[in-house]
Symmetry: C2
Subunit: 201 residues, 2 copies
């Protein structure tokens, strides 16, 4: 799919607001609460691209300030888009069409603005975000009824660092489970978040 | 946590039916639709154990007929339960408490029967199961109101083979996304399934 085809609405068209997501590898926390740049995980890209395709995300930004890591992601994506992988698994190829590599969140936002004509509203996600929080149903409703683009932010490692959260326009409520434990992987959490906000579409 | 503490209801107690899940590595399909035994993936165990803990699953069975693979899983679990990993990441340790390794689904079912006194109702999951299908809300309701144990079956690779599906008592509706694409990883799909059936608990 070319960028032009996509702009004409091949994905997520006619169903409310254009929805984007980004996986940030910086600034994120390590387990000691220090702000770090996390390494890109091949499986994160696979799983989140498949979830993006399933839940009608127009573009999935893989964001890292490290050029070598961006080159790695481009190689992985190329393998599944054009290389042996595209013949081995055409379904995976389709998912990888959503992937775009950028060096910063700002660059991803500008890309959304180029595509839609509007700066996206950014929404931080995390297991321990503080009020005021946007509920899943509130975000889902705004997506169904509005036309402003939205960009949902996920963090790798131990989650988005404070700077990434405070820089976002909104904060999404955490995923509640049955008890107090809610340490989902970003692969599981992103799928649940997208499923919850896409409900009733 | 000892088995005795668990039986007394440390997990998932007082909230309706005891819920279990199993990740089957055989019989599953490869991409050509052939029935194979898939290799165990370290990350599948991590992600599904974390989802199990988050959504109140009493026990997560990792099922493979290959003894070497079972030994590998026991080594991984041991690392996070007793080894360096248990000090490095106590949250992960908690999730791994749910993991039990068995050689067959039958063995997992017998384990549930030993714990609860009842044979579990098995529910197959998959992206392309055929009617009659149980809905997520139907299963959720039965979990809230009943006391019979349930065992949800997930397949690795390209999903549960026909024999595994037809041997199950029930089949769960597939996860619907926004369009026709619904090729989620088992790591994403299991989290979404658990989230959907646990809604409103």
């Amino acid at each position: 799919m070319t960028r032009e085809e996509d702009r004409q609405g091949h994905r997520g068209s006619g169903k409310g607001a254009p929805l984007y997501m980004a996986l940030l590898h910086y600034p994120v926390y390590n387990r000691r609460g220090e702000t770090v740049t996390a390494a890109v995980s091949n499986l994160d890209i696979h799983d989140l691209a498949r979830a993006a395709m399933t839940f009608g995300i127009r573009r999935f930004y893989v964001v890292t300030p490290v050029e070598e890591q961006r080159a790695l992601v481009r190689r992985i994506v190329g393998h599944w888009m054009d290389g042996y992988g595209s013949r081995y698994n055409p379904g995976r190829r389709k998912a990888f069409e959503t992937v775009t590599v950028t060096s910063s969140l700002e660059e991803a936002g500008k890309d959304v603005e180029r595509e839609t004509g509007n700066r996206p509203v950014t929404v931080a996600t995390g297991a321990a975000l503080e009020a005021p929080l946007m509920t899943f149903s509130e975000l889902g409703m705004l997506l169904r009824t509005g036309d402003r683009p939205w960009l949902i932010l996920f963090g790798t490692a131990w989650g988005l660092a404070k700077d990434a959260v405070s820089g976002a326009d909104r904060r999404l409520e955490p995923i509640s489970g049955v008890g107090e434990y809610n340490h989902l992987s970003v692969r599981s959490a992103a799928a649940v978040v997208l499923d919850r906000i896409r409900k009733n579409m």
